[in-house]
Amino acid sequence: MTRARVLRGRYVDSVVLMRLARELASLDGVDDAAAMMGTDANKALLADGGFLDGPVEAGPNDLVVAVKGASGEALGRVEELLEAPAAAVGARTLAQAAALRPSANVAVISVPGAYAAAEARTALELGLHVFLFSSNVPLEQELELKQLAAARGLLCMGPDCGTALIAGKGLGFANAVRRGPVGVVGASGTGIQAVTALLDRFGAGVSHAIGCGSRDLSEAVAGATAFAGLEALAADAATSAIAVVSKPPAPAVAARIRAWAATAPKPVVLGFIGDRASPPTLAALARAAAGAAGAAVPDQEPPEELPHFDLAPSQRFLRGLYAGGTLAYEAQLVLREAGIPCSSNAPLRGERRLASVARSEGHTILDLGAEELTLGRPHPMIDARLRCARLLQEAEDPQVAVVLLDVVLGYGAARDPAGDLAGAIGEARALAARDGRELAVLAHVLGTERDPQGLRRQERTLRRAGAVLLTTSSAMVEAAISLATREPAAALVGSAR
């Protein structure tokens, strides 16, 4: 069946009309569509094409739109389709883009790993710094890229670099952090996010945070980008102190960094989290760096007052459901320091690996951003569904006393991470309550007030859903330990905070 509509006095360019017809024809219930100005010749064409049941009252300056098919609703969308802007088209290649924008100074690259190095090489050859988010880039290619970058005086941040902050602007997943005197060099995305968000929370600020990529501090790569970053921050007028955040590097590399730090023109705080010589937690690192930069360091808070939870005797374990890999790692360090054994899908060296990632055992720290859980799935910082499902699963387990959640804000993260978890938090606590238990849900929001999601708004949402908020990730783990073991938090390793 055919239906036609006349839009009086509506002149539309023939290019737009052709496109309109094509878009209408692609709608459900529409077999074919035509859109033409109402000249006699066009009306004859429409009639010949079977679009008009009878004569239509339209003149040369009226638009006739006709559809064939079951649905006449499509005709109602004509105005909306006419208003839709044409798709913008960017450049096709890096070279084209650089030619279009000669002032460009950095290429942000996130193509599949097999192709990433070629793009990064092109960028460096064009004189652009590189922020290489892509992972699964072969080691030889990383070495070539970092050599080329060094030869050209350019930074190669990555591969597998998730975060950087340059002059207050975030590359990759990054937070809106106030500017200030602390420079950061990091081999871990969430590590940089955690430290910079804490520096913001403490009222200190960040000059720049240079990401190196996860393999930079290995023996093979030998800290190529880390040293370039350290040299840059040493020479940067806006930086008064430098913090390095990573898991402990290869010993030879750690030694060279220590040697460099010893003769650096500015104070350097080495945060090889897990190494005895380094601050034991991200919060301790941030405090030390802020102090070294001359920023007023907030007094260490006493262990945060927890509300009372009606825990059943069977509830003995904590379950950490982490989106941020470095926070999961830090959690395990705090547990080890407190003498609490735990299992993980990303265990510390020598610690227990979960038999099956699908089932928690005893105390468990899960890194939901680990590769085996993100194959073909969006990262938990963007999509909360896996975490929500796991939260309910833990709530069903009568042995679980407390669940820990890190909620990461910032550019690149989900629009409303707290909101995405709120429903599941409420459901999980309700589920436990029906079974006669109270489930404690602890949350730490990694973010700043200036982040698009807003730190305080996100904390409120979580609180309303029944979570208890802790201001640092390590404080959250200590609180969880205290709940699970029934020991007051102050009795735990106090200096760990």
């Binding site: 023939s14 290019v15 052709m18 496109r19 017809a21 094509r22 074919d32 035509a34 033409m36 064409l45 429409l46 010949d48 094409g49 079977g50 679009f51 044409a86 798709a87 913008a88 088209v89 450049a91 096709r92 290649t93 070279a95 084209q96």
Partner: protein, 423 residues
């Protein structure tokens, strides 16, 4: 004592061969010299022969539109009285079918050329070679063999072509380079939007028709045709392009593409360093817009020698300068600009003569390099009309198509076999 000169690597040989081939291509100086029956001017055109667009193909495999066009010319030549007779005649093998390209010629869409059909003749004065193109039309070339469709080419043969011939004699030939350059600056891309060129040619021929003493009835009909046929210029840009590419063929070790042509079944390319060899792949479907009542289910596959225009840097390569074309092929001005920018990535250089106001008068990208196509994955973009899949219909739409990558991969493999093993 001097040391022997270093033997250039194959890569160096290719680069200098391409420089030479490109130089020949852009040196072209096309002049419209004649309009004459094909039997008079087309080398090797035999008595019962019909030439067609695209790479070689047999009658059995020919697509519907091209078959319809062949049958139409069989009737036009009087070799058969009815369509059924014509079909039997051709199926029997009594009519030889060969590509225009094998006879220094080109033809748009089905591209069929037969002995009595007058063709446009263009001479490349830089090298002295000549090429021809059969006339454009919106029916017979799309496979329509109705009486009305044939009436058009009969009138061309009997009335308009002789008139134009006389006008060209009067003028002593019509230099095309200045007209092509001006048309590009006036929003043409010289393939599916040749309107300005058509108008410029019409304006040049009109006084000459009068001065040559063409008699009134023929004069009026010819002038009216010149006035209304917006596509007449396409035949001239095609003939000019063909005349430009021929001197660039056969440059040893060159990877310059000298031909792109389609017959509705296969898309074929030829490469300068591998003269006389076709590299083909299945003809792609056209992504486009249709006249009311028609759709992709009715369409034939990519068809015509008119991709010779893209081969010299016109058509899809200068889409950005012809926003008017978007009414035919769809898309936005931004997309058209992107296509032109992409084409620059696969060409050896830009034209010194044909420049685009929309790109601040930068030259049109010209000289497709097989290597660059394979390296970037950017395939030459061609804008084209769409024929029906069956014989007996006129034009049904227009759109964009991209040359299949396989043609270039095959050509490059053959290039390696030819040159790398003996290097």
């Amino acid at each position: 004592m001097t040391t022997a000169p270093a033997v250039p690597s194959l890569k160096e040989r290719i680069d200098s061969a391409n420089e030479e081939a490109l130089a020949r291509l852009v040196a072209a100086d096309p002049v419209l010299v004649d309009v004459a029956p094909a039997s008079e001017v087309v080398e090797g055109l035999e008595d019962r022969m019909i030439l067609h667009s695209g790479p070689p193909i047999t009658w059995e495999r020919m697509c519907g539109a091209q078959r319809g066009s062949v049958l139409g010319l069989v009737l036009f030549e009087g070799w058969a009285g009815t369509i059924e007779e014509a079909e039997r005649l051709v199926a029997s093998g009594a009519v030889t079918l060969e590509p225009n390209h094998h006879h220094h010629g080109v033809g748009p869409m089905a591209g069929t050329t037969s002995p009595s059909l007058p063709v446009w003749v263009v001479e490349n004065e830089a090298f002295g070679n000549r090429a021809y193109c059969r006339p454009t039309d919106a029916a017979q070339q799309f496979g329509d063999y109705s009486d009305a469709a044939l009436q058009g080419i009969r009138e061309w043969r009997d009335l308009r072509a002789p008139a134009v011939r006389a006008a060209l004699r009067q003028l002593g030939g019509l230099p095309l380079k200045p007209l092509l350059a001006r048309a590009l600056a006036m929003g043409d891309e010289l393939h599916n939007r040749p309107n300005a060129l058509s108008a410029l040619v019409a304006t040049a021929l009109a006084p000459a028709l009068v001065q040559a003493g063409v008699e009134t009835e023929a004069l009026v009909k010819t002038l009216l045709w010149l006035r209304y046929d917006e596509f007449l210029g396409l035949a001239l840009s095609m003939a000019a392009a063909k005349a430009a590419t021929e001197p660039a063929e056969g440059v040893e070790a060159s990877t310059l593409v000298t031909t792109m042509a389609r017959n509705g079944v296969e898309f074929g390319i030829r490469v300068s360093g591998l003269p006389g060899r076709w590299f083909t792949a299945p003809a792609p479907a056209v992504d486009g817009l249709y006249l009311p009542g028609f759709g992709p289910q009715d369409a034939g596959l990519d068809l015509g020698d008119s991709a010779i225009t893209e081969t010299v840097g016109w058509g899809g390569f200068v889409l950005a300068g012809a926003p008017g074309i978007l009414a035919l092929v769809g898309g936005t001005p931004e997309q058209a600009t992107q296509v032109s920018r992409d084409m620059r990535e696969i060409t050896l250089g830009t034209s010194p003569d044909y420049r685009l106001p929309v790109f601040a008068f930068a030259g049109a990208p010209v000289g497709i390099d097989v290597r660059k196509v394979l390296k970037t994955g950017i395939r030459p973009t061609i804008d084209t009309a769409i024929a029906h899949r069956d014989p007996g219909h006129p034009k049904i739409g227009g759109g964009l198509v991209r040359a299949p990558l396989d043609c270039f991969a095959r050509a490059f493999r053959a290039f390696g076999q030819e040159y790398a093993e003996s290097a």
